[in-house]
């Protein structure tokens, strides 16, 4: 049996492509559970306070899909932002969250009666033993909200249901930039906090997180917002894809390669080329 060099090259190329795909795909689709937001451990020398810091490149991003929150307010269903990228980093002392989203209009002013500013908020349960209702938590299951608005407002809020947000004494640190039609906002807080009604950030288990965004020039404010469903910050370690997923993908890849080669050989024999 002799394979023509051309066929051999084609089969080999096909096999290589398949192997490459099987190895690359898991990385591309972020091999982790659907609602997990990976938490990157930042090194001592790294800096995350600024959204432009190159150290953020090492932190993987989760893409959160946004949809109009239900509020009963006028134009509640006409929100404009469809997705937000969320990156999370812990250092020895702080939790940093970086939120990036496309917004063609940079709205930073609230100084006219008709002006509303772009804004973003992160929602965390106060007590992570049970997942609170997504719409600002509930009376007996409250949430912390890290709120940033492009007019310079930055607040940490407590809420127990829609319309109940109340500022806490503490405030998250913030930094932002707007480049190429994209907002990048970093919000951070000390990991340790003994304040009441403030989320205790765990280091041994996951923490629920949800995000909301407002496009100011679209009249978005209050409950008129694009909101994500509950996700979680993977602070508890646990299965995050590799290595066992990589093993499964490798087995699958090898199987596909073998099948391809057998098929090529089968076709060749059927044609009576042996």
């Amino acid at each position: 049996m002799t394979m023509k060099p051309k066929e051999l090259t084609l089969a080999a190329a096909l096999a290589v492509a398949l192997v490459a795909t099987t190895v690359a795909v898991p990385a591309l689709v972020e091999a982790r559970p659907a609602y997990a937001v990976p938490v990157h451990e930042g090194g001592e020398d790294a800096s995350f306070a600024s959204p432009g810091s190159q150290d953020w490149d090492a932190a993987p991003a989760a893409t959160l899909h946004m949809s109009s929150a239900e509020s009963g307010l006028p134009n509640a269903s006409s929100t404009s932002v469809e997705q937000v990228d969320l990156q999370a980093v812990t250092t020895d002392e702080r939790l940093y969250l970086k939120l990036s989203w496309a917004d063609a209009t940079r709205d930073t002013s609230t100084s006219d009666v008709r002006e509303f500013a772009d804004a973003v908020a992160v929602q965390l349960p106060v007590n992570e033993s049970a997942r609170p209702p997504i719409a600002m938590g509930g009376a007996s299951n409250r949430v912390n909200v890290w709120f940033w608005r492009a007019d310079g407002t930055s607040q940490e809020l407590l809420a127990g249901g829609a319309g109940s947000t109340t500022p806490l004494d503490d405030t998250v640190s913030n930094a932002s930039r707007y480049e190429n039609g994209t907002w990048e906002v970093v919000l951070s807080r000390d990991l340790e906090s003994s304040a009441t009604n403030r989320t205790a950030i765990p280091d041994d288990r996951d923490l629920d997180v949800a995000v909301a965004v407002w496009n100011g020039s679209n009249g978005e404010r209050s409950g008129v917002k694009a909101a994500s469903s509950w996700h979680y910050l993977a602070l508890g370690g646990g299965p995050q894809g590799p290595p066992y997923e990589l093993l499964l993908w490798a087995v699958a890849g090898a199987a596909i390669v073998v099948t391809t080669l057998v098929t090529v050989e089968g076709v060749r024999r059927t044609r009576g080329e042996s």
Binding site: P74, T110, D112, V113, R114, G163, R221, S222, G223
Partner: protein, 358 residues
């Protein structure tokens, strides 16, 4: 839906609908026949409550010329209020533009007083619209042109759509007297109240990032007026022709109840917005139309349909009643309506301590 309150319910006079949970309802009657458009009420309010701090453009009390565009410009076309008498669904509203309110202009005081300029005193730039910009313009053709002044404050409505519009319940009606207030701690500056008020009497403060409005001078009503006394709102007390009566709608012996419920000569502005205002107006009379030769004609100068547009069909019966009562006085007979409208006794104009003992 209207319902009588628990607190004052059993004593609430017939025909008075108090908002749910409200003990009493403060109210005001403004006699438009007395308004000379001097804006003293406007300035009294401004010096008390809206000087600076993001409030420059706000006139919690304003006086606008009618017919005219009003303040903010064309506010009647901006929506708000309720779709039906059930008060279940609100009419969508819109936010006025800054230019529709008018900016707080800078004047050339410096040049005139200190630099010897002989220019007239005037705004330095950008004066293209402002409150009562169309002063005295009115409508109609000589010799039958007409106008009148319409002072406006927050109506402290029985069914306030601003309160319903707020997703945070930052606006509320005070239990003791039905005054509509914005809780400045609850407010987050969303401005749904500004959209929701069909009279455009809630204002956004871009410095505090909160909404603000007429408070019916509640500290004065509570006894913190000049010399620590109970006083009516300063727009009323400072009015040179004393055109305002202040009291409680549910005070059967007070001037408000008598003019509104008993004689039905005081009517609401734009009742079709269905918020049920608690500021009422005695509709304006004008001299009859004149012929080219200056003879009086048997024809009303202010078109009746214009008054109906403003005050609803109730204005007709109100005008008829006032005309009958005036005729009584002309014949030398007694008229309680005319007594109420012409009293110069402050104790009769302002009855604010009637429920104090409760």
């Amino acid at each position: 839906m209207s319902s009588q309150s628990d607190g004052g319910g059993s004593d609430t006079p017939e025909g008075v609908d108090l908002a749910e949970g409200i003990d009493h309802q403060v109210a005001m009657v403004m006699d438009l026949n007395k308004c000379i458009g001097c804006q003293t009420c406007t300035i009294a309010c401004k010096t008390n409550w809206t000087e600076g701090g993001g409030r420059d453009y706000m006139y919690w009390n304003n006086v606008e010329t009618r017919p005219g565009s009003g303040y903010p410009k064309d506010w009647e076309e901006m929506g708000g209020g309720w779709k039906s008498e059930e008060h279940a669904e609100r009419q969508p509203g819109q936010l006025p533009e800054k230019e529709e309110y008018g900016r707080a202009w800078e004047f050339n005081h410096e040049q005139i007083f200190y630099e010897g300029s002989d220019e007239p005193l005037r705004p330095m730039d950008g004066a293209e619209w402002g409150p009562n910009w169309d002063e005295d313009q009115g409508a109609g053709e000589y010799p039958n042109s007409y106008y009148f002044y319409l002072p406006r404050i927050c109506n402290h409505c029985t069914h306030p759509s601003c309160v319903e519009a707020c997703p945070r319940s930052a606006l509320y009606k005070r239990e003791e007297d039905g005054i509509v207030l914005v809780d400045q701690d609850r407010c987050r500056g969303y401005r749904y109240c500004v959209e929701g008020c069909p009279y455009k009497k809630v204002y956004y403060n871009s410095v505090t990032k909160n909404s603000e409005k007429c408070i019916f001078c509640y500290p004065r009503i509570e006894g913190e007026g000049p010399e620590g006394e109970v006083r009516a709102p300063s727009c009323a007390e400072d009015c040179p022709p004393q055109l305002r009566l202040v009291g409680f709608l549910d005070d059967e012996d007070g001037p408000i109840y008598k003019l509104v419920n008993e004689y039905e000569v005081a009517v609401r502005l734009h009742p079709e917005y269905r918020t049920e205002p608690n500021v009422y107006y005695i509709p304006p009379f004008a001299p009859p139309q004149h012929s080219e030769r200056g003879e009086s004609l048997d024809s009303e100068r202010i078109p009746r349909n214009y008054l109906e547009e403003l005050f609803g069909p109730e204005v007709n019966e109100a005008l008829n009643t006032i005309e009958r009562e005036r005729a009584k006085v002309e014949r030398g007979e007694e008229s309680e309506v005319m007594d109420l409208l012409t009293t110069e006794n402050p104790a009769k104009q302002y009855r604010l301590e009637v429920f104090d003992e409760e």
